[in-house]
């Protein structure tokens, strides 16, 4: 899983949350869901506070339903969008 961090637009944390990116394309389901849940759990407090958002790149259409369903149950905001040939699932809220 490739992981990248993107600082806020002004290089500060105060203006927008950090975006931590995970590339789970090509992996077998349900490892994609389990990996996503593991990362969400390890960052849960920072997601709730708005300090970070997690972005998952996946090619598995099943994940576009199962990850949001699981995340919504945890009380986090989630959005799903399309990026060329795969999907982006973003978890977390803007501060």
């Amino acid at each position: 899983m490739i992981r990248q961090t993107c600082p806020g637009e002004n290089g500060t944390r105060e203006s927008r949350p950090h975006l931590i990116e995970f590339d789970i394309r090509g992996q077998v389901y349900p490892s994609t869901l389990l990996a996503a849940l593991r990362e969400i759990d390890s960052h849960r407090e920072r997601i709730r506070s708005g300090a970070v958002k997690l972005l998952f790149r996946t090619d598995n259409p099943h994940c576009t339903k199962t990850i949001p369903d699981a995340v919504s149950g945890m009380g986090h905001d989630v959005s799903v969008s399309r990026d060329s040939d795969h999907y982006l699932i973003i978890i977390g809220r803007d501060t």
Partner: protein
């Protein structure tokens, strides 16, 4: 008046064309709806989810009703379907191993193909495992064949035959029970799924379409959709590339006693796992290629086709090992989940009932291994 040779040739063309169209259709439908039979059982044990299992149940229900309607209309030439025999303990053992294999492989024999077609290299690894496993089975075939014979019980292939009745009363009972569940799920809104995936095909629609494909297969070929003998045949072809005549020494590959009779042309063709062209080649190779093409077509039209190969090594090993286990199990049973769940269960075949009984603990064990060993 056509000669026997012309009828034979025409039958081969019929099987190839039919298999190609059926395969592309099935691969497309399953890719669009995410109709993964392996995932249905895996999600039950991993996440306590029965969402997709409802649609498998409905597929069995729809198939049961439509197979019976087709039989009563006189369109089914052979009933029960060919190659369904009396039950044996080996059906359940094979089902259990198949359940383990399909979860570790990330898809069953059909799911592997449409995902491979859509660009998954993990599924390519599972596909290779399927061929290997089906070929390795030939080494234990004499032992397993003896075990099968020793543990075969009863003299009937289906529950209606045991009861000495036509299938219709049992189908009506299944209808009554299934109608109750269908209405219950429908009222709870559980038969229409929300999805953010592009081009999503509702699984209920997929269940109906796949049932129709199964009925079509039964009318044109005389049997439900099945593809696993072809994996063994592929393995035999590969093995002939190596020096020596090991293939020729294995009874599993050299057995040519089985005959396939096409219900439309009445041509009698050979049916074997050996490395030569026969009914298995004409019927199942186009299905295999077609399912992969159907998955590819669906992915291309959605602009989602891409070769995905970046996955942890553990997942590749799991896919290969799962494929090997599935390949062996498909010969040990014999038959795969599609053959038994969508073909045999709807006609109350004993072998399929036992396969299903074995599949459940197998899928549970496979799910446990997946979480404890592969994804940790």
């Amino acid at each position: 008046m056509w000669t026997g040779e012309r009828v034979e040739t025409a039958t081969y063309f019929l099987l190839i064309a039919n298999g190609t169209v059926l395969g592309i259709s099935a691969g497309f439908i399953m890719h669009r709806s995410g109709f993964c039979l392996s995932g249905m059982f895996r999600d039950l044990f991993l996440f306590r989810q029965v969402t997709m299992l409802r649609f498998l149940y409905l597929t069995v229900f729809f198939s049961s009703v439509l197979f019976e309607a087709t039989r009563l209309s006189g369109l089914l030439a052979f009933y029960p379907f060919p190659f369904f025999g009396p039950p044996s303990v080996t059906n359940a053992i094979g089902g259990c191993l198949f359940g383990i294999g399909m979860v570790l492989a990330g898809g069953c024999v059909v799911g592997t193909l449409y995902k491979l077609g859509a660009g998954s290299m993990l599924s390519l690894a599972a596909f290779a495992g399927l061929i290997i496993g089906s070929t390795v089975y030939a080494e234990i075939h004499p032992f397993w064949s003896g075990l099968r014979s020793a543990t075969t019980f009863g003299g009937t292939a289906t529950l209606p035959q045991l009861l000495g009745i036509a299938p219709l009363p049992l189908v009506l009972v299944l209808w009554a029970v299934s109608w109750y569940f269908y209405r219950k799920w429908h009222r709870a809104g559980q038969l229409q799924l929300e999805s953010r995936a592009g081009g999503f095909l509702q699984p209920l629609t997929a269940a109906l379409l796949l049932t129709c494909l199964g009925i079509w297969s039964a009318i044109v070929t005389g049997m439900p959709i099945g593809i696993t003998t072809a994996y063994a045949k592929m393995g035999a072809y590969v093995e002939t590339l190596f020096p020596g005549d090991h293939v020729g020494s294995l009874p599993f590959f050299t057995d040519i006693s089985r005959q396939y009779v096409n219900p439309l042309t009445r041509a009698s063709l050979g049916w074997s796992a050996g490395p030569w062209f026969d009914a298995v080649s004409a019927m199942q190779f186009p299905l295999i290629v077609g399912i992969a093409l159907g998955g590819a077509l669906s992915a291309v039209l959605l602009r989602e086709y891409r070769i995905y190969y970046r996955a942890p090594v553990r997942q590749y090993l799991s896919a290969i090992v799962g494929g090997v286990i599935m390949g062996m199990a498909s010969r040990m049973t014999p038959g795969c989940n599609v053959w038994h769940l969508c073909g045999g269960l709807p006609v109350f075949a004993w072998q399929s009932l036992l396969f299903f009984v074995g599949l459940i603990p197998g899928a549970w064990l496979g799910s446990l291994l997946l979480v404890k060993v592969i994804v940790k």
